[in-house]
Assembly symmetry: C2
Homo-oligomer: 212 residues x 2
């Protein structure tokens, strides 16, 4: 966000004073409270300043660490994940599409024996396929899925914050939740035990914001 020169001066004044009323800021800038109101609204709405009744405005970085933040940082994926929705590699794209509708999910994990993660298929993959001239009833999902090891994953004990960062950084809507192990042949395997999505994060955001 870009700030006007006046907005930057307001932020400096608030930073210097710890907390200060709108009237006092106006006085310091030789402006009326009414002239200042739009600036204070923009700064509050974007979270740069925090307005509190009777106390006035304070700068967000001065809020300091809080118990609610500590709680947020301790939350783990295991408590907020959803059930996995899986499909076999040789299912047709048509079958996968129907599964997405009936289960109301935006992506499926493609698994082999023992629920071992093979790949992921998303609405985006299916849309891409339908742009081409391929027969959705004949072509198996294995042909169009994103295949391991090109899958971003999370685990039951990963902090929710770090899993949410993966969703943002890698621009994916969903991460498979996996438990890793080494099979008899010495291969690294990942059993799918859940999924963690932007929907889970949005629900958690609402839940936290309403805890008061």
């Amino acid at each position: 966000m870009e700030w006007t020169e006046r907005q930057q001066r307001i932020v400096e004044i608030v930073k210097d004073s710890g907390s200060i009323t709108g009237e006092k800021i106006a006085a310091m800038l030789n402006l009326t409270r009414a002239t200042l109101r739009p600036d204070l609204t923009v700064l509050t709405m974007s979270g740069v300043l925090v307005a509190r009744p009777r106390v006035g405005y304070s700068y967000r970085e001065d809020l300091g660490p809080s118990p609610i933040m500590e709680r947020m940082l301790q939350l783990r994926v295991c408590a907020f994940k959803s059930m996995p929705v899986t499909v076999l590699e040789d299912a047709s794209i048509y079958e996968a599409t129907v599964a997405m509708f009936t289960q109301n999910v935006g992506s499926l994990t493609v698994v082999g024996t023992d629920r071992v993660l093979l790949g992921m298929i998303s609405r985006k993959d299916i849309m891409k396929a339908s742009l081409g001239k391929i027969d959705l009833q004949q072509v198996p999902v294995g042909v169009i899925m994103t295949r391991m090891p090109n899958i971003y994953m999370t685990t039951l004990d990963e902090p929710v914050l770090s899993a949410a960062k993966k969703l943002v950084q890698h621009q994916v809507d969903s991460l498979p939740v996996v438990e890793g192990y080494v099979d008899e042949s010495g291969n690294e395997c990942y059993e799918v035990v859940g999924r963690f999505t932007k929907t889970n994060v949005t629900k958690l955001f609402v839940e936290i914001a309403e805890t008061r």
Copy 2:
């Protein structure tokens, strides 16, 4: 989440004592610290208890209101929305699909003259269309879009929390951000000025959790 009897007793003990160390809880239950560890881990990971170094465990509801919560409740959609990605009603489904790929979005707002909101088209709508036998290059988006007034919307000054609740409750990935007005014929119109998505909420969650 379902709690075992022992976990419920732990929560009661922590509630009664304000904050208490793991050792003391173990002593009160006549158990070793090691036996108790898995229960304390589950209760902490799910956010019921908060663990703090040297202080011990406390119950989440005892955290009370905090400045960071006040800040979260003041955030408005205007500061966190994305740019709208729009398409005209007579564009083909094929063109809309290509636009979703090139703009990397999960849905498009369908607009008329003056960017007036007519409807929304999502990846889900396009997947449904491709299951049928329709020609994506011939059929216009107007045929398959979700049409006004069946669209959930948000506004620039709506609190982020309430917009996030709409996403969760109505199970949609995206809300058009609109400015309402009444046109010359007396019709209520909504000009599309942005979009607010689960991605915006996920980014905000990460940003807030990292503000320390």
